[in-house]
């Protein structure tokens, strides 16, 4: 371990170590820092330290914070069904509640529901919490849930989750505290699906979303689309002691440098989703810390199985052996990523298969495989674009590895505008970028099933489709996990999608802000930080 010398060591790192010593870091902390090879990892250990700090400290009530996301426009909305930008998610989490939510370990917790139960994964009973009120004083009940869920089926609402909600064939009120949901096909994931941000519960009959009337921890005081929102504490919130903050203001600073500068100057206490490139600026600043979340976002290299050269036996295996995952993780993604094993279920997901090891970088094996496929020495095009995060850098790494074994790749860099409609899913070898999804079922049915709309490599397997449907309806967790693990193995070995790494999201926060934990639903604590954080007195 001691021969693992840190790379990219600069004056900034000296400052950080000195600073840590000044703050009284223990020998173990120092070792932890020194052991970390690479820039970002040293930042990562700092977070570990601070996170344990945060857990130990007692929450303090009171205070006002300003926090900034990265995207905002006049399309900002308080209608959870239409929420599309992270800014919308943060606001919806503050003003509304969901029936369920995912905690930091990816486990399902109940929020407005007391229980979500089913015997056969087809007919579900949702028992609701009693004694919850909306901001306007109306008490919360089954009618609100029915109204909120049915909105997604109404085309004129323009819900983002219309395709997911469509499986709920019957949504009806049984009594004031119970709702019955009947699905078209058995789906054991319903409790996780209800934890999606779009399924926030609004009051029955709501049509005006210029102000938010929810059950959430904060009451909406001002909301100007594309400008800002101001939220004040809900004194009647049903979770005791929460929220800790008296009020919080949320807006977006679209420019990364401006967001970093505002954080450094203390104008905001949280700047979401910082570019890994600005990490060097933040290190050695005692007033700022970072929180790294690895949810399921990834950039993948897609080789179509139905086109030349992907259809040639051995070519895809050759490509998988030629991918230097460590180099991609360290240099293309600057260490802010976890190495992937060619399947879409990330380590943050509770169904992730940890036994499936990433394929090793083996140029000799790749050379032998390319020879077998009869393509060695042919110039093969790879389409990359800034539209797919870091794909140009990844393509360069693949190209260099190819040059060393006499396999020239022609990296075609194309513009971002129109990339998703013109090249993605179409070119024989191209890059894609997939956002996190809450369940393996959604990922598989969207990306790998024979009928999947976004089948990136045109992977088709009847066995896989059958397993997917079986797992969907299985209430037995052990059985489900077993099937999902096997499916991950199939995708990793058979499909033409190379997933070299899961990309992390980095939020920058003031060291005065405590209580923020990474969450598998995304950065900023799955966008729900407002209710959980507090300001150190």
């Amino acid at each position: 371990m001691t021969n693992k010398m840190p790379i990219n060591w600069t004056g900034r790192d000296d400052v950080m170590i000195e600073d840590a010593i000044r703050r009284g870091a223990s020998r173990r902390d120092m070792l932890k820092m020194l052991m970390c090879s690479g820039v970002a990892l040293s930042a990562g250990s700092g977070i570990l330290l601070r996170a344990s700090d945060a857990l130990a400290a007692e929450p303090v009530s009171g205070g006002h914070i300003k926090a900034a996301g990265w995207s905002s426009s006049t399309a900002d909305t308080l209608d959870p069904a239409k929420a599309s930008l992270s800014t919308d998610y943060v606001r919806c989490c503050a003003f509304y509640n969901r029936l369920t939510f995912l905690d930091e370990h990816g486990q399902i917790r109940m929020e407005l529901a007391d229980a979500v139960e089913s015997e056969d994964a087809k007919t579900w009973q949702v028992k609701l919490k009693a004694g919850v009120t909306f901001h306007d004083g109306k008490s919360f009940g089954a009618a609100d849930v029915v109204f909120s869920l049915k909105r997604h089926l109404d085309k004129s609402v323009g819900s983002k989750v219309n395709s997911i909600a469509k499986q709920m064939e019957v949504i009806e009120k049984v009594d004031d505290q119970t709702v019955k949901i009947v699905l078209a096909e058995p789906n054991a994931d319903l409790p996780t699906i209800l934890a999606l941000h779009h399924f926030m519960i609004v009051a029955e009959g709501t049509t005006d979303f210029s102000k938010a009337n929810g059950t959430g921890a904060f009451i909406c005081e001002t909301f100007e689309p594309g400008v800002k929102s101001v939220a004040v504490k809900n004194p009647n919130y049903f979770k005791s002691n929460k929220p800790y903050l008296d009020s919080f203001e949320y807006f977006a600073i679209t420019d990364n440098n401006a967001r970093v500068n505002a954080l450094l100057s203390g104008d905001i206490v949280l700047g979401a989703s910082l570019n890994p490139r600005s990490m060097r600026l933040l290190e050695g600043q005692p007033s700022v810390q970072t929180s790294v979340t690895t949810s399921g976002n990834y950039t993948d290299l897609n080789i179509r199985l139905d086109l030349d050269p992907g259809e040639k036996a051995g070519f895809i295996d050759g490509m998988k052996s030629l991918i230097n995952r460590e180099a991609i993780q360290k240099s293309a993604l600057r260490g802010l990523a976890e190495i992937g094993n060619d399947q879409p279920v990330s380590p943050a997901d509770r169904y992730h298969n940890p036994n499936l090891k990433p394929r090793a970088y083996d140029p000799d094996m790749a050379k032998a495989l390319f020879k077998k496929a009869g393509v060695l020495g042919q110039k093969i095009p790879i389409v990359a674009s800034d539209a797919a995060t870091s794909s140009v850098d990844m393509a360069m790494i693949v190209q260099q590895a190819g040059d060393q074994i006499g396999m020239p790749f022609d990296v075609q860099r194309v513009p971002s505008d129109g990339y998703w409609s013109n090249y993605w899913l179409k070119a024989p070898i191209h890059f894609g970028n997939i956002n996190p999804r809450p369940t393996p079922d959604i990922l598989f049915s969207l990306l790998y099933a024979s009928t999947a709309p976004w089948n990136e490599s045109q992977y088709k397997s009847e066995k896989f489709d059958r397993m997917m449907i079986e797992a969907r309806g299985a209430l037995d967790e052990t059985r489900r996990t077993e099937i999902y693990w096997a499916m991950q193995e199939m995708v990793a070995n058979e499909a033409g999608t190379v997933i070299p790494a899961y990309i992390s999201n980095v939020d920058g926060l003031s060291s005065r802000l405590k209580g923020l934990l990474p969450n598998p639903l995304g950065g900023q604590m799955g966008y729900a930080f407002a209710e959980y954080v507090w300001l150190e007195s």
Partner: protein
């Protein structure tokens, strides 16, 4: 009497041309927006845009009418002062724009009030003392400022004054402005950045226009007759250079209303430029058109004003 009526005729002609320009620009913007891929329903649904969902939303939003008809409808509404309703958030465009326009005008006003006199003085001084150390210093500095892009100036200013020195806030909006001091602090950085950019242009144009006039025989004559250097420049040369100077000032200032997107982004200042960009990103036709009209209107009124100053200050132009 005759002279003044021809002047007014000229002015009326100018205003008429301005109005026609507005209509032409409006059509040009409309055709340009039609070239953008996707419509508002597709953009709003994003990754969830299945064909049936898009069709349903289009129906609900009343977007099935041909775009040109919706545009003409908007144009007739505009004639009665109605800017229409945003497709995206169903707010009145006038409400959306009002606050933002006030912000933009506030910023533009402060920058104009501060930079115009300074720029004119520096430009005139440089032309009066042409070739001296003062002239060279001013010229080198203005060229330096013109050459450095504005996002660089803005980011450097934030880094120095907000991050390192901690004197000023890094954001201009979202900070508490409860006292005059706080307002001054909040506006300092964007105003400094914008003043740099616009005054550099104005200084160079003023200097060039003045030097040209100073080189004419009648100004030289004034000097030979014994007028002081100051009198020669201010009384004999300046009135004749006023036309070109007014035009240079108008061009620089017109940039302040719609063209300050970078400063708005870096300082998180909600102005109309950002609103226009949002409008384009979401294909919100009434919003795009309204913003375009405002930019065009401010540009036209400034250039028309400059032309009128030129006409009024120079009797030769009236013929």
């Amino acid at each position: 009497m005759l002279k003044s009526s021809t002047t007014w005729l000229l002015v009326a002609k100018r205003l008429g041309i301005a109005l026609i320009t507005l209509v032409i620009v409006s059509f040009a913007v409309f055709f340009a927006t039609q070239l953008l891929p996707g419509d508002v329903a597709q953009i709003l649904l994003g990754q969830a845009a299945t064909p049936e969902a898009v069709a349903g939303l289009r129906e609900a939003m009343g977007l099935n009418e041909p775009a040109i008809l919706r545009f003409l409808h908007w144009l007739t509404g505009l004639a009665t002062g109605d800017l229409g309703i945003s497709y995206v958030n169903h707010m009145e465009i006038s409400n959306l724009i009002a606050g933002r326009l006030a912000n933009s005008l506030k910023l533009a006003g402060v920058v104009a009030a501060l930079s115009t006199p300074v720029a004119l003085c520096l430009g005139i001084l440089a032309s009066m003392w042409r070739g001296t150390l003062l002239d060279r210093t001013i010229s080198i500095l203005t060229i330096a400022v013109i050459s450095v892009p504005e996002f660089m100036i803005a980011t450097l200013a934030v880094l120095i004054f907000a991050v390192w020195l901690g004197w000023l806030p890094a954001l201009s909006y979202g900070v508490d402005v409860d006292s005059l001091g706080a307002i001054l602090r909040a506006y300092a950085l964007p105003v400094i950045t914008l003043s740099f950019v616009v005054s550099a242009q104005m200084i160079r144009m003023t200097r060039a226009a003045m030097i040209e006039t100073i080189n004419t025989p009648y100004v030289e004559m004034a000097l030979l007759k014994g007028a002081s250097r100051t009198r020669m420049v201010l009384v004999h040369a300046l009135p004749n250079a006023l036309g070109p100077i007014a035009n240079a000032v108008a061009l620089s200032l017109s940039y302040l209303v719609g063209g300050v997107i970078i400063v708005e982004t870096v300082f998180n200042y909600p102005g109309v430029a950002k609103l226009m960009v949002d409008g384009v990103a979401t294909r919100d036709l009434p919003l795009i058109q309204s913003c375009a009209m405002i930019f065009c209107f401010s540009y036209l009124s400034l250039t028309t004003l400059a032309d009128m100053i030129a006409i009024l200050s120079n009797p030769r132009l009236r013929r």
